[in-house]
């Protein structure tokens, strides 16, 4: 029996271990550190954490950290670095940032005050603009922001607020007080990652998490959701999270949040406007959307009124907002308050609009659009950070800045000064900020790293609520000014240590997305499209691998002799016809061909390419799939990719194929057993059935025609998993008509075409109908006719030509399904091609 390491470790060991961890811990002078207090000793709350960690032993701690890393992988938490094709695993720091409840209260009050202030500023600049008229805010400090969205002027936001979800980036100043470094109001990211960070760490250190009374995050999201519901025009509103799509840097977060909160995850293509309202395109026709939590920037929301090049929005979106029929979090143009130029005015605006001083100070900022401020910055140029006033890249700051005066060479310096003199309104000067440090785990010990803390605020009917936690970014180097995740920083969970234990609340339902999946009509057309294709691709991958397996089996058994060669040759022919591989020169081994058909990346029809397509379709509907399914899909991908790297022998190919088929079988099982029998599942299964029926027709055309040998007919039976039932039914060896009957017409064989056709028909019968006149829609009519015909068919009459006709009619059903459900019937081409008029 293995003893609990915690029980074995004695106090002396713990103290020694902690001493070793922090022996080389050297905070920077002049900036505060989270771990080491002013007395040079670890602060009390950190001491508690370190004691517990040390009690686990060095291996215990490393083991839990490793488990956390695996968990991140398993959860599929990723992010994308701009311009990269592959998503990266989420870089989570192993240690949380610790905040005492007292300190937290101060931060929370300050951020709530700031959110309220910024909402009021927005209300004014998009409304009467009295701040400008009275001279409290220069017109140019507003008009210069690309996020001052002019079509929103004079608009009354549905629900009354411009800002509903806000984040502030904080840093700890030299005096230990918190400062606001920047505001995030366009579409703040990180809240979802914060929850995921929490799930990972809480699982790695469950007891620690409880002992330290770490405040929970779920309540914040519950309040946020309630706030959105209260702000909507209808009592049971349909809420969506609008994403730019899988290529977005934080798509994984969008998926997570949509699932966590039970919101529809929609892209611009899913949205249409009509009669001044916003609708989602669903398989049951357009459904009204009441609330949009957007992660798409204002400029891309509406190609008609904003950026005409946008493919991420919906034409007419601004108009629906203008008419107040849809509630936005946040309104287009809310991003205006992110501009640095505004920061210099906030202390005065706070006194004016709220009658109080800012509780959390800004980084001191001078907007160079004013003469006195410009002179001040030019005089103290060397000791300032110079940045774009509106987050853009003006002359001299083409790299995005900020630039530090003293660090510029003569040429850049002269150029920047001249540019500030000519167009001061494009620049701000800011006080140089030195970030404080928090411990990170490196090579088995602690080391100080600079960090920033993002704190989230949500509007509710009662005012602002603040997430008790946040999104902490930890730099990878001791010297860090600008921290971005892409630049190789890590994120850390943020623990607010409560003074007392807190009752449990969670948002995590066992059955995610409850509202959506119980209302079949809510399935967006694009999601239906991708689920259908995911089903088809998975089925196709399986069929390809079955042929590969058959081929490998026959090759290992085969002796010389033409009757044994026939099934192998036909497998080869089929794989080439499917684009799984190219014809190989005469001398090449069958093994090479089988391997290519399973694993080649070059051929569009190889099992690997098809599996990749399945994953791609799945990634677009990831919020609808369970984590288990997503994991199996990635595993399938990895398995086939790994095998292609080597040149394995026949038995190894066979083993790899078997394993891949097992993974696919597990996926089928998950889909059948763990997927709600609602519209989404219907589309996956419809895709599988259509594809399986088509593939079976092809098997029959290749293996039951042109004088098949008994071995070839036997191969057909193997491909459709029917050898055993055939043998129980027929005593003699395989014969043509019975084999064809089993493959094409047998209603009891779950792999026969007739069986698929019945399933297809019943699925189509279950899907929503657009008209209520009781007439059959075209796709159903095709399916009913095919089903009836197959039921009345005789296997002896089924020659190759007739099988081909059946195959073509199945394809026609697929086309009719696409026309009816995926592109809304108006346009027979699979996707809308949008183009600009002038």
């Amino acid at each position: 029996m293995i003893a609990d390491p915690q029980a074995v470790a004695i106090d002396g060991d713990i103290a020694r271990r902690i001493a070793a961890w922090i022996a080389d811990y050297a905070p920077l002078s002049g900036v505060p550190d989270e771990l080491i207090g002013p007395d040079g000793r670890p602060r009390a709350h950190w001491a508690q954490l370190l004691n517990t960690l040390a009690g686990l032993g060095q291996d215990g701690v490393e083991g839990r950290f490793a488990a956390a890393a695996r968990r991140i992988n398993d959860m599929g938490v990723t992010h994308r670095v701009h311009g990269e094709a592959q998503e990266r695993p989420w870089p989570l720091s192993r240690l949380p940032l610790l905040l005492t409840e007292n300190e937290w209260r101060e931060i929370a009050t300050g951020v709530a005050q700031r959110a309220e202030l910024l909402d009021r500023v927005l209300r004014d600049v998009y409304g009467p603009a009295s701040l400008v008229v009275d001279g409290a805010l220069p017109a140019a400090a507003v008009a210069g922001s690309p996020e001052f969205i002019r079509p929103m002027c004079g608009v009354e936001p549905a629900g009354g607020r411009w800002l509903r979800f806000f984040a502030a980036d904080l840093g700890r100043g030299p005096d230990g007080k918190w400062w606001v470094l920047g505001d995030r109001a366009q579409a703040p990211s990180g809240a979802g990652y914060a929850v995921e960070n929490r799930l990972v760490l809480a699982r790695a250190f469950p007891s620690l998490y409880r002992e330290m009374n770490v405040r929970r995050l779920a309540g914040f999201f519950r309040d946020f959701r309630a706030g959105l519901v209260a702000a909507a025009k209808r009592s049971d509103p349909r809420i969506c999270l609008m994403t730019p799509g899988p290529w977005s840097e934080t798509y994984s977060e969008h998926v997570y949040l949509a699932r966590y909160l039970g919101f529809l995850l929609l892209e611009g293509e899913d949205l249409v406007t009509g009669d001044g309202r916003l609708h989602a395109r669903t398989v049951a026709g357009p459904k009204r959307i009441d609330v949009v939590w957007r992660r798409v920037d204002s400029d891309w929301l509406d190609p008609l009124e904003a950026n005409a090049a946008s493919r991420l929005g919906a034409p007419g979106f601004y108009d629906a907002i203008r008419r107040g029929t849809v509630t936005l979090a946040n309104m287009p143009g809310a991003g205006f308050v992110e501009s640095r130029a505004l920061m210099s005015f906030l202390p005065a605006l706070s006194r004016r609009l709220l009658g109080e001083d800012l509780r959390l100070p800004n980084v001191a900022t001078w907007w160079c659009g004013q003469e006195a401020e410009r002179a001040e910055i030019l005089a103290s140029f060397d000791h300032r950070a110079i940045a774009g006033a509106f987050g853009d890249r003006p002359e001299g700051l083409e790299d995005g800045g900020p630039a530090i005066g003293a660090q510029l060479d003569d040429m850049r310096r002269t150029r920047l000064i001249r540019a500030i003199k000519t167009r001061g309104m494009d620049y701000v000067g800011q006080e140089l900020v030195q970030l404080s440090t928090t411990p990170a785990w490196r090579d088995g010990a602690l080391t100080p790293r600079p960090f920033t803390l993002r704190v989230f605020a949500a509007a509710t009917a009662e005012g602002w609520t603040i997430m008790p936690g946040g999104f902490c970014r930890v730099a990878n180097h001791l010297d860090a000014r600008a921290i971005s995740m892409g630049a190789g920083a890590q994120s850390a969970d943020v623990w607010v240590l409560g003074e007392a234990a807190e009752p449990t609340t969670t948002l995590l339902p066992n059955n995610n997305d409850v509202k959506v999946v119980r209302v079949p009509g809510n399935l967006p057309s694009r999601a239906a499209d991708n689920l259908f294709w995911m089903g088809r691709y998975l089925e196709r991958a399986e069929a390809t691998l079955r042929v590969v397996r058959l081929m490998c089996n026959r090759m290992t058994e085969s002796q010389v002799g033409s009757t044994h060669r026939q099934p192998i040759e036909r497998c080869e022919r089929l794989l080439v016809a499917w684009g799984a591989t190219a014809p190989m020169p005469g001398g090449a081994s069958g093994a090479a061909l089988a391997l290519a058909a399973a694993t080649s990346a070059e051929h569009y029809g190889s099992a690997r390419s098809i599996a990749l397509q399945a994953t791609r379709s799945a990634s677009i509907v990831r919020e609808r799939l369970s984590q288990d399914m997503w994991q199996l899909l990635t595993r399938l991908d990895a398995r086939l990719a790994r095998a292609s790297a080597r040149a394995p022998l026949e038995p190894e190919i066979l083993e790899m194929t078997e394993r891949a088929l097992h993974t696919l079988a597990a996926l089928s099982g998950l889909m059948d057993e763990n997927f709600n029998r609602v519209t989404g599942w219907v589309f996956i299964d419809l895709g599988r059935r259509v594809e399986r029926a088509i593939n079976t027709c092809r098997f029959v055309r290749h293996f039951a025609a042109d004088d098949p040998t008994i071995e070839t007919l036997d191969a057909l039976l193997e491909l459709i998993d029917s050898q055993i039932s055939y043998r129980t039914r027929y005593l003699a060896g395989a014969a043509q008509a019975p084999a064809i009957d089993m493959a094409m017409l047998d209603p009891f064989n779950p792999r026969s075409v007739a069986f698929q056709s019945r399933r297809i028909d019943s699925h189509l019968a279950a899907l929503p109908s657009l008209s209520d006149d009781g007439m059959m829609e075209p796709q159903r009519r095709l399916a009913v006719a095919l089903r009836a015909e197959l039921e009345a068919e005789d296997a002896r009459r089924l020659d190759t030509a007739r099988v081909l006709t059946i195959e073509q009619r199945l394809m026609a059903i697929a086309v009719a399904v696409a026309a009816r459900y995926f592109s809304h019937g108006s346009d027979p081409s699979p996707a809308d091609k949008r183009s600009r008029l002038a």
């Binding site: 603009a129 950026n307 949008r834």
Partner: protein
């Protein structure tokens, strides 16, 4: 001067278009030296749920949907406008250009005519160092703003070649500037970018200019064209002065203003998103006829 204007735009699609969502900024502005006496927009196929409003800059915008499948779309705008523009002020009497930049920043207004909107880089008129340097040559320290702007306008007219083949709507400003050729839209954007680079407010004006047939020739129907020019803010009390760099002249009673904005993107006469595939071709015919004038 009173004009009858007819502006017909025809889109022809290779394959039928299922639906179109569109916005028109085709109707001449009312006010600022002109009066809109009558106006109408007709489309084939018919517009569905058409609404009319003024956009941020006060331009009349009509938004509509076309629900019928169509292979051709015709939009015809007719209007009657009376133009009576004031003479521009004497250039030498306008304020020094440096003070105009400062005054613009001090205007306490976010209204559509506030110079604050015209001070910054915009989508199609980015600030480019070479363009700013080009403009700077006309703005010696202490020069009256309109004197500098008029010289810049004349230099653009002299240095740039009018060539409709050289650029299209998508040509970036820097490229048109480097080629020293283009059309009215390019010249307007270049002048705007140069002025803004110096911290002076400049806006984009779209509309029509009356053309005169060459001596001995008759006026052809549909031969007129859309035009674009610039408005420069010259401080109080002068405000916005319109200048036409393509013709090196101040806008006069031969200019008819349809829309103003920061650049072409704010005033595009027709914006739309179609649902359909295939190529499209565009034909535009414009007629500007003075009422009572022959032809």
């Amino acid at each position: 001067m009173i004009y009858n204007i007819r502006h017909v735009t025809t889109y022809t699609y290779e394959t039928s278009v299922a639906s179109t969502r569109c916005a028109f900024r085709l109707t001449p502005r009312d006010g600022g030296g002109q009066r809109l006496l009558a106006h109408e927009i007709e489309a084939t196929p018919a517009l569905h749920a058409a609404t009319e409003r003024l956009d941020f800059f006060g331009n009349r915008i009509i938004e509509a949907t076309i629900r019928e499948a169509h292979a051709k779309l015709i939009i015809a705008m007719t209007a009657r406008v009376e133009v009576s523009r004031e003479e521009p002020p004497a250039e030498g009497l306008t304020p020094l250009w440096e003070s105009v930049g400062r005054d613009a920043a001090d205007v306490r207004s976010l209204a559509a005519d506030s110079p604050a909107h015209a001070l910054f880089a915009s989508r199609l008129a980015p600030i480019e160092a070479p363009v700013t340097e080009y403009a700077r040559q006309s703005f010696a320290p202490g020069r009256p703003v309109l004197e500098g702007a008029a010289e810049l306008m004349r230099r653009i007219r002299a240095d740039f070649v009018y060539d409709p083949e050289a650029t299209d709507v998508a040509t970036p400003l820097a490229e048109a500037f480097a080629r020293k050729s283009g059309v009215c839209q390019d010249f307007a954007h270049i002048m705007i970018a140069g002025l803004r680079g110096l911290g002076l407010p400049a806006a984009y004006v779209s509309g029509y200019i009356r053309t005169f047939p060459a001596p001995g020739e008759i006026r052809l129907d549909g031969a007129d064209a859309s035009h674009a020019w610039v408005a420069v803010w010259c401080g109080d009390p002068f405000g916005w002065i319109q200048m036409d760099p393509t013709n090196a002249m101040y806008a006069d009673n031969n200019h008819i203003v349809v829309a103003v904005g920061r650049d072409y993107a704010d005033v595009a006469p027709i914006d739309g998103v179609i649902v359909g595939a295939g190529r499209q071709t565009l034909a535009v015919a414009v007629d500007i006829k003075p009422v009572g004038a022959p032809g």
